[in-house]
């Protein structure tokens, strides 16, 4: 997908902003807090009906507004036009329309406009708790497969329902067993499918991450990824029936404890992904620089997975990359993204420097943002200076 334009209505400090984009590198520059990242968030809203960082809808809306909207126009990789609009009003469900239809849900939207976002907030993927890594993996798989989105929804629902049965304390052992059994069976079935899909996805991601890491860091360390699955880790082959059998065994083994605690104690909601660098766990032994390179490598690998799965080049959103990586690494990231023909949007406080790092022959837009408005736009068909400047 190549986006032609993005429109923000009452998002953060933007009143109404429309920005025409170029197919290559789109640089949004300006001091902190002027509304650069909001443009990236608007694209994220158009892609998955939420920002790429956790934020409440009310906080996304302009101060004093109880509604916001984001819309985008683009061209799919098969040259079919694509349009999408997401509108939110306080107390109502988001109204989502696209070329595919009206009254869509976030589940319908995901994967139509594949997006890969990299923000300083994503550091928690390699640093933080297991939930962060599951969220990353789920986000990749959810954009790549509609079936996976449905499985995630079913899993969440089944987990809640099963916990509700377990929390109903007055039930005696036998009555509980009869009531719990069908929920367990359905939960085990969905859990096994999720677990196997995640394990397969890790096997697919690992070599891509390894390659991207070497390219970005310029180092020679070896990155490995291992899926650490609760209760079913000993099942080595990615066979749904075998994994389901292992979950069933866990359900029997943990029955007593689950009844005491009143909640589900097994399942993919407890899984983790372990990264190692030269055989040592990243969380314990990686340097700051290695963490950063790994995060970027994960996102670049996500790009290639999504591209293969959806047949569509994802749009890449790089939020404040230069505050995190040195210039040389940034240059390599941009080079790799652009070499694969992906459209890129990048925020920075230093537009001049970024422009010098964009590979020659790339279409470049430099847009200056001030107080929620685009005050200056320059378009270049390649990275030469001083042509096509337009002032507003």
């Amino acid at each position: 997908m190549i986006l032609r334009s993005i429109t923000l209505e009452n998002i953060r400090n933007h009143r109404r902003t429309t920005l025409a984009l170029v197919p290559g590198m789109n640089i949004l520059c300006g001091p902190n807090g002027v509304g650069k990242t909001s443009v990236l968030e608007a694209i994220s809203l158009c892609a998955m009906a939420r920002s790429f960082v956790p934020v409440a809808d009310a906080a996304l809306a302009h101060t004093g507004c109880d509604a916001y909207g984001a819309s985008a126009e683009g061209l799919r990789d098969l040259d079919v036009p694509y349009r999408v609009a997401v509108h939110w009003r306080d107390g109502q469900r988001k109204r989502i329309t696209s070329t595919s239809g009206d009254g869509l849900t976030a589940r319908d939207l995901l994967g139509e406009l594949p997006v890969v976002a990299l923000s300083p907030d994503h550091k928690s993927i390699t640093f933080g708790a297991p939930a962060e890594r599951r969220a990353f993996l789920d986000a990749v798989l959810a954009q790549a497969s509609q079936r996976y989105r449905d499985l995630l929804y079913e899993h969440r629902r089944l987990l809640k329902q099963r916990n509700a049965v377990l929390a109903d304390a007055p039930l005696s052992g036998c009555a509980l067993q009869a009531l719990l059994e069908p929920w367990t069976e359905a939960f085990v079935d969905v859990s096994a499918q999720i677990s196997v899909r995640r394990r397969t996805a890790i096997a697919d991601l690992a070599p891509r991450v390894r390659g991207a890491y070497l390219e970005v860091s310029g180092g020679a360390e070896r990155i490995d990824m291992q899926y650490v699955a609760d209760s079913v880790d000993h099942v080595l082959d990615a066979d749904v029936a075998a994994v389901a059998e292992a979950y069933r065994a866990a359900a029997t083994r943990l029955a007593e404890a689950e009844r005491r605690r009143g909640q589900t104690l097994f399942g993919p909601q407890k899984d983790d992904v372990e990264f190692t660098i030269d055989g040592r766990p990243v969380r314990e032994s990686a340097s700051q620089g290695q963490h950063k390179s790994l995060l970027v490598a994960l996102k670049l690998a996500e790009c290639s997975v999504l591209r293969d799965a959806t047949g569509e080049r994802p749009v890449v959103l790089l939020d404040d990359l230069f505050s995190e990586l040195d210039h040389e690494r940034c240059r390599r990231v941009m080079e790799r993204v652009l070499a694969q023909g992906m459209q890129c949007l990048l925020t920075t406080t230093d537009g001049e420097t970024v422009r010098t790092l964009v590979p020659k022959g790339t279409a470049v837009l430099v847009a200056t943002v001030r107080n929620g408005e685009i005050t200056h736009e320059e378009r270049h068909l390649d990275a030469e200076y001083d042509d096509g400047a337009t002032h507003r």
Binding site: S145, Q146, R147, D150, E154, R157, L158, K160, Q161, R162, A164, V165, D168, A178, L179, E181, P182, W183, E185, A186
Partner: protein, 195 residues
Amino acid sequence: MAPDAIDQVVELFATLPTIGRKTARRLAFHLLRQPPEFVEQFAASLVSMRTAVRECTQCCTFTDRDVCAICASPKRDRSTICVVEHPSDVMAIERTHEYRGLYHVLHGTLSPLDNIGPDDVRIRELLGRLDGVNEVILAINPNVEGEVTTLYIARQLQTLGIRVTRIARGVPVGTDLEFADDATLAKAIEGRTTL
């Protein structure tokens, strides 16, 4: 008529499914333009429907008699029961003219989150009417709660030696495979049959 009375009617219409405030207002004003006899008859029909219609003592669908027309009919095959979620599902299956057996309406699905257990849907009533029944067809909606309710009933029936089946899930008739959504197609492949 005081505008309060209009507001009250609008509020009431707006509580109905699929009716928003705008439509509710249109309906209220439409009724105001009708002759008073029409509105009286309209209101009376609503009241009499509510008082006359109850659940069939056998299949639990809505009826204005003790036993609904389907349960009372001598032409129906009494050895087969099709279990559905809502009375409207009975009508949907009847429209096909392909099914000759009886029905059983659950009026819901299991949902512990909403405190709905087996005693809150008509499962006990189903278990009480299995004399002479050879097959129970489970035709409950295939969402998360529906699937679990299907599993639960199947477990209860298995011990009784009755044949338990479920309706097939698959690609809608008259559409191309490429337009079927992934989940439907996946289920269709899972439930494939031998030729």
